[in-house]
Structures are given as structure tokens and as C-alpha cells.
């Protein structure tokens, strides 16, 4: 093959915790692989599942949604609703033929720069191991 596979990851980060956590990783200069493309959202509860499905349709190898830890949502309960939606979406994606491991939901607080970098690293590694999504993949 020669060229190593570089997964493309779409990441929806909640503004208050995870986006700030990613900033924290930056300010702390904690490096991680460059495969994630970040879309800032106010809350993980803002992430319409269709955006995730659309990302996969376009060809994303992985989708990450990161929000405040349950109980710490800036909007008190947004991530609780998000959690329910994603809990249904993940098995559904698997059912359609998209490995559940390609869709990650993580809780990263504004102070968890290290955790953020670990999440991106481990997700990138995991997706590299899974390999590219077969073309014509469902959705």
C-alpha cells in the first residue's frame, strides 16, 4: 500500500467544556494527531444526529461528539438528552454497517486538555486500525 491511511474525523465539540478542553490542550502544548476537524457547537445537545449521518455519508472515517460531563452541562441538561439520542444512534449505525467504534461520544471538561488529546490520539489510532471505510458504505 505504501501510503499510510490517515483517517478523517469530524468532531463536534461543545463550546463550554470540550472546545475549551481542546484549547487547554493547545495552551498546554499537548500534541495529538492532526486528523480531527473541529466544528464548534454550543452544546452536545445541539448536535442533530443528521449531521453525524451526513458526515459519514460524505466519507468521514470517524465522528466524535464531545461535551461536558453529565451533570456539568453549561445548559444543565443538554448532554443528558444528547446521550439518549446518541445511545440510539450508535447501535443503529452498527446495524447499517458502520462500526460503532467509528462514532465516539466523550465527556471532556474545560480543564481536561490531556484527556482531550488522549481522546483524539486513541480515536485516531482506533480508526487507523479499522482502516478506511469501504466505498459505497451505507449512509
Amino acid at each position: 500500500m505504501g501510503v499510510e491511511f490517515e483517517p478523517r474525523i469530524v468532531g463536534f465539540l461543545c463550546n463550554w467544556c470540550s472546545y475549551a478542553g481542546a484549547d487547554m490542550a493547545g495552551t498546554s502544548r499537548i500534541s495529538y494527531p492532526p486528523n480531527l476537524r473541529v466544528i464548534r457547537v454550543p452544546c452536545s445537545g445541539r448536535v442533530d444526529p443528521i449531521l453525524i449521518v451526513k458526515s459519514f455519508q460524505m466519507g468521514a472515517d470517524g465522528v466524535l461528539v464531545a461535551g461536558c460531563h453529565p451533570g456539568d452541562c453549561h445548559y444543565a441538561e443538554g448532554n443528558y438528552y444528547a446521550r439518549r439520542r446518541f445511545a440510539m444512534l450508535r447501535p443503529f449505525l452498527e446495524y447499517l454497517g458502520i462500526e460503532g467504534d467509528r462514532f465516539r461520544v466523550e465527556w471532556v471538561s474545560a480543564s481536561e486538555g490531556r484527556k482531550f488529546s488522549e481522546v483524539v490520539s486513541s480515536f485516531t489510532n482506533q480508526l487507523t486500525e479499522l482502516g478506511p471505510r469501504a466505498t459505497g458504505a451505507a449512509v
Binding site: 451533570g71 446521550r83 447501535p91 443503529f92 447499517l96 465527556w107 449512509v139
Partner: protein, 280 residues
Amino acid sequence: MSQIENVHTKARELLESQAVDCVIGFGKGTTGGSRPLFVYGPEGVEDLIFDETCAHNLAKYLLNRKGKTTAVVLKACDARAVNLLLSEHQIERDKVYMIGVVCPGIKENGEPRDTCLRCGQRTPVSYDYLAGEPEEATVDAELQYKGVAEMEAMSMAERKAFWEAQFDRCIRCYACRQVCPGCYCDECFVERLDPLWVGIRIAPSENEMWNAMRAFHLTGRCIGCDQCERVCPVGIPLSLLNRKLEKEVYETFGYEAGMDPEAAPPFATYKKEESLGFGE
């Protein structure tokens, strides 16, 4: 009196007393089966039939009759659709008169529908008037998620190939959507221009996006009438999608759509302490 005679009597009474403007029920079709029948006056009441060919879910038609008083003949699954529409504030309870019928199990081409084999309900969960004698069917628990379980047992690659082959046939006629009592958007996401979620191509990628999102929009809302699958002109097993989601919803949240119009649907509520497998 037989069930259909009771329906006739009740329909006549409702129309004569002008308690309702219209009774939606089943009439005889031209190809040996039945079809939806709209009766606007007592004189048409005798045309109403009910038998094992009455496959349609008439609850869908209530969406076109907002603000008008309507009586509707409902099988068990159809009554759940009414409950769904009630819980989603699409119809008003006092404008709908629910004539429940005890369902014998619907047959297609003489064979029972798979849906009906899976269904333990013969008597509607809700009704204003029940035309038949209540009864319940016993169902083999294994049938409940038959098909879904087989899908789950497949490998990822097999499942992917399976759905690719299925969606490849889709012609995007939207019959599945049009017949579904849970699909009533003014403008379906698939037809929106901005945001353009799905292009207009009738092609694998678009077909898959369409079918996947349509099913997901029914998460916790599908009442299992499987009309989508019944009307699909190219025979895509759509209920496999919906039933997978209903299985997840039931196993995770213990919720079944349309059973109780007062119960909070899964996406309308949450429990702080619930563990759904995301990092906690």
C-alpha cells in the same frame, strides 16, 4: 351482533347525530382486497367492511382532518398511531372518535402478515367504542425481533452489503413516508433545499441517507404497523430498520410508542443516573 354490524350501528349513530362529519373505515376495493373508505353520511355506512384484508392504517388520515370531527375505525396498531399523534399534539382527542375493532390478524395473499404474527395485540389499547369482543393473541417471544436478531448476528460487512443491495432498489417514491402516521413534516428533510441534507439523485448514497434518517426520525415513535414495508413498490424490508430502533428503545428505556399518550417519549426526557455506555 357481529363486529361489522356494531361498526355500522355506531357509525350511523355518530353521523346521524352529527357527532362526527366523517367516518373513516374500510371499504371493498377493486382488486379483491379492501381500501380506505370515507363515509360522510349515514347512507354510506353499509359500505363499511372489516375483515382480514383491512391492512391500512387509517390513523394517517386524521392528519388531514385537523379541526374536524372524525370517527375512525382502528385496529390495535392503528390505535397506537392515534396515541402517537395525540402525544405529539397533532390531533385533538375530543375531535376524534375511536371505533376500536378486534383485529383477526391481517393476511396478504392469504398469508398472515409477518407484522401480525409478531403482534400480541388483538384489541386496541385505546378506543371510545369497541365493536368486537376483546381478545389477546399469544405470540412467540422469538418472533418479536425476528429478522432484526438475524441482522444483528451478521458480520459488519454482511450487514453493509445487505443494506446496499436493499437501498439500491429504492426509487425514492416516498410511499413509505406518505403512508406512515409518524411522518407529517410540512417539508421532509429529504426534500429541503437549504440545508441540503440529501441531493435529488435516486442513487445508492442518497437512498441510504434517506432511508437511514427517515428511520431514525421514528426512533421511539414507530408504532410497528409496518405500512412502510407494505407499500414499498420494490420490496425493501423497511421494518427491519424501524424494529431495530424500537428494540433499542425498548431495551434501553422500556418505552413503546403509542401505548400511553401520557408517557414521555425517550427523547423528551432523561435520567441523570442512567448509564448509556458513553464514558461514565
